[in-house]
């Protein structure tokens, strides 16, 4: 090799090229774009990332598929009908209309005799059997309770609907009149207190809670992923000393911006994949949760994820810039992971129990926990949309402060190796 490097040999790489690259004007964003690209590419190439992504997506699919398979209400209700052809028709129509209204999947079988129907119900082959009258009778194994399960509620509802049909029939109306009476337009339901934009339907309300729950969980997972990557990435650049090579070409804030945006792109992409998998899995099993999930609910979950990421990412980066060794990372993770965990843990009582104690209300307004507790509060119907917006604004303002502070800490600490840098030292530099 020494022969190659003889003194007479001309320097390679266009030593005499007309315009050296550095003399071209370079926008502030151009190195940032390169950094973003690097962050995305190294993750996509990393085996560890792909494994973690696969696990996350499998878990997402399972979260949609498993409840749909386990939940009795979502299975198909098998109903039998006994009677003359003329009486069986209207019964079928009433059952189907009721099932559609209640969001129940129904399969109606014609059974030759009442005795056979009783046998099938007793054997568990049929959930219910309607013996067309008059008087019409619904045969079930155990007495239904309207509040026990959607299927029970359906049985009770059907009994009223069929009874309505019978009483109309006794009025000797024309068939057109009967049809008109049996397909009423529902009167308006006016809730006195519910958050704006909330449709009154129970199924839709539950779907919102479901989406909020999924959103809270996804926010937890993605903030931990993203925060960890940022922390480790910053420490790696510092501990391998590549930082000095980078800072000879770019400014600290460009480096910081590139890292946060690059990992943000990966996080958002991952969230989009999770939604896609959830929707696809929901379509396969016919889960009703997603069928009712309005885009607005998804949008809100996405907005809080982004806000949370913006707030926490800069803090993770600042924390990473304070230490030079991976071993020191653990101690720094704790104060950042703790509020994330608290936010996540307190979102569940809100969603499941509809609880909105003073503590939870406070947490919904505090920037570190708002990304979890505020969407939960909204889904539970405990706050109005303007309150959600106000809390989001508060988080946004805190993020602006966090960015300024973290930018100064990062710029001040990133070139200091060795001992852990104190925050005050970093701010002074």
């Amino acid at each position: 090799m020494s022969a190659l490097a003889g003194p007479d040999r001309a320097a390679p790489s266009g030593a005499a090229s007309s315009v050296p690259p550095g003399e071209r004007p370079l926008s502030w964003w151009s190195p940032v774009r390169l950094g973003v690209e690097r962050e995305v590419v190294i993750r996509l190439r990393s085996k560890g990332f792909r494994v973690a992504l696969a696990i996350t997506l499998l878990a997402t699919a399972a979260a949609v598929v498993v409840p749909a398979l386990v939940k009795p209400g979502s299975s198909v209700v098998q109903a039998g009908v006994v009677g003359s052809p003329s009486s069986v028709g209207p019964v079928r129509t009433v059952l189907r209309a009721t099932a559609r209204h209640d969001g129940i999947k129904l399969h109606v079988h014609t059974v030759p005799s009442a005795a056979r129907a009783r046998y099938l119900v007793r054997a568990g082959k049929l959930r219910m059997a309607v013996v067309a009258g008059p008087p019409t009778v619904i045969v079930v194994k155990t007495a239904p309770s309207a509040t026990a399960s959607p299927t029970d509620a359906f049985v009770v509802q059907s009994s009223y609907q069929l009874g309505l049909g019978e009483s109309i029939a006794r009025q000797h109306l024309t068939s057109a009149q009967v049809a008109a009476v049996l397909s009423p337009a529902p009167v308006a339901v006016q809730p006195l207190r519910h958050p704006a934009g909330h449709p009154a339907g129970i199924a839709s309300f539950n779907a919102r809670k479901g989406v909020a729950m999924a959103g809270v969980l996804a926010t937890l997972i993605l903030l931990q992923f993203g925060g960890g990557w940022i922390l480790m990435g910053v420490i790696q650049e510092k501990s391998t000393r590549v930082i000095e090579v980078l800072l000879a070409a770019v400014r600290p804030l460009q480096l910081l911006t590139a890292k946060i945006l690059g990992i943000g792109v990966v996080i958002v992409g991952q969230a989009a994949l999770m939604v896609a998998v959830a929707v696809a899995a929901g379509a396969v099993v016919g889960s009703s949760i997603l069928a009712h999930a309005a885009p607005a609910a998804l949008g809100m979950a996405a907005a809080w994820l982004l806000l949370g990421y913006a707030f926490y990412s800069v803090l993770f980066a600042a924390a990473g810039s304070l230490v030079s060794r991976q071993e020191d990372a653990q101690a720094l993770m704790v104060p950042l992971i703790l509020p994330i965990t608290i936010g996540y843990a307190t979102a569940f009582p809100i969603l499941v129990g509809g609880s909105s104690s003073l503590l939870l209300r406070v947490l919904a307004w505090l920037p570190p926990t708002a990304p979890f507790d505020m969407p939960a509060m909204y889904a539970a119907g405990a706050v109005a949309l303007w309150q959600v917006a106000a809390s989001a604004l508060l988080l946004l303002l805190s993020t602006v402060v966090a960015i300024r502070l973290a930018g100064r800490i990062y710029s001040g600490a990133i070139m200091r190796t060795g001992q852990r840098v104190r925050i005050r030292q970093a701010l002074k530099a």
Partner: protein
């Protein structure tokens, strides 16, 4: 022309740079020499904008430096650093592009440098999979990929084997020949004196000597190297007036002569001990230039000039006696691997 004008930087009570001033002309290899802790790295970081200065300024072609102009600089930091998990070529291309190169341009330049440094076959390997020597080559390629007009190389020779040193000095010379500003630092003064054409010697944040290698090594006291058969210590010379034993190595006694000393009196004293096998004048070594400059500066500053560690050149030179790199022996026992992980 790169000019460092009265650079000062303190870290608490430690003075890293103390009014350090220096002009580096383009077209020659310029050495920034001095013991560890003299301020070389801080000065280079200041040039690269990585250290905030308390005072002073760096100019290039008489204009101040900003981020845009610094992108025309190539920098090899003392503490080498690359992304360990990133591919060799990918990494060099990335750093080229951060300096403003287009994608295809960066790929071509990276290919050329990796080729020249014998790394063409490893271009898709991860950096962490390479030997330390090859990692150093990648680091050099990363500093050179964007055809910098000014090269700032901090201890480029440290950790290199002899072929590596030749390779590095070849690159430095080529760059100087094509009209660039080439500055490198080293704490091994004697090892690099044949590599640079001009040098500044720094100690405690100040330039203590500055000039072409010729000017530096021909000035000062005359050096006489004497070998007397059977004599290992050179004790005979220490009694002579105006003669100082600066180093003894393998029976070769290196003497510093005051201007009023007649060499023939030295020859007679030597002959009185035994047959003289070697008797010749030599140029000053850079380590001697350094020691004498430090003694002068500190003598002027304190009057008495005990000069703590550095002033005791006589003793340490004789004790370590390793020939080249004796300054490294005196100032930094770590030697070549000093700052390496």
């Amino acid at each position: 022309m790169l000019e460092l004008d009265r650079l000062s930087r303190r870290y608490g009570s430690t003075v890293a740079l103390d009014q350090l001033s220096l002009s580096v002309p383009s077209g020659q290899v310029f050495g920034l020499l001095g013991p560890n802790g003299a301020g070389k790295t801080t000065a280079m970081r200041a040039v690269m904008g990585l250290v905030a200065l308390d005072e002073g300024a760096v100019t290039w072609d008489r204009r101040p430096l900003d981020a845009d102009r610094r992108r025309l600089f190539g920098y090899l930091p003392e503490e080498r650093g690359l992304y360990p998990g990133m591919g060799v070529e990918q990494q060099v291309v990335y750093l080229g592009r951060l300096h403003g190169m287009g994608r295809s341009e960066a790929i071509r330049a990276a290919g050329e440098w990796l080729d020249r440094l014998g790394l063409a076959e490893r271009s898709s390997s991860k950096v962490e999979a390479l030997s330390l020597g090859n990692q150093q080559r990648v680091q050099l390629a990363a500093a050179m990929v964007h055809s910098p007009r000014v090269l700032i190389l901090d201890e480029p020779f440290s950790g290199l084997d002899p072929p590596g040193v030749d390779e590095m000095s070849g690159v430095l010379r080529d760059q100087a020949r094509s009209g660039r500003v080439v500055v490198f630092s080293s704490h091994q003064l004697d090892l690099v004196e044949h590599i640079c054409e001009s040098a500044a010697i720094v100690n405690r944040g100040r330039v203590v000597a500055n000039g072409s290698i010729d000017e530096l090594t021909t000035g000062g006291q005359r050096r006489l190297v004497v070998k007397v058969d059977g004599d290992r210590e050179g004790a005979w010379a220490s009694t002579l007036d105006g003669v100082r034993v600066s180093e003894v190595s393998g029976g070769m006694v290196r003497l510093a002569l005051s201007s009023d000393v007649d060499p023939s009196t030295v020859l007679q004293a030597a002959l009185a001990v035994g047959p003289v096998q070697h008797f010749a004048f030599e140029r000053r070594r850079m380590s001697e230039v350094f020691r004498e400059a430090v003694r002068e500066v500190e003598g002027a500053a304190t009057g008495a000039g005990p000069g703590a560690a550095t002033g005791a050149g006589r003793g340490t030179g004789a004790a370590t006696g390793t020939g080249a790199g004796s300054l490294a022996g005196a100032a930094s026992p770590g030697g070549a691997g000093g700052g390496r992980r």
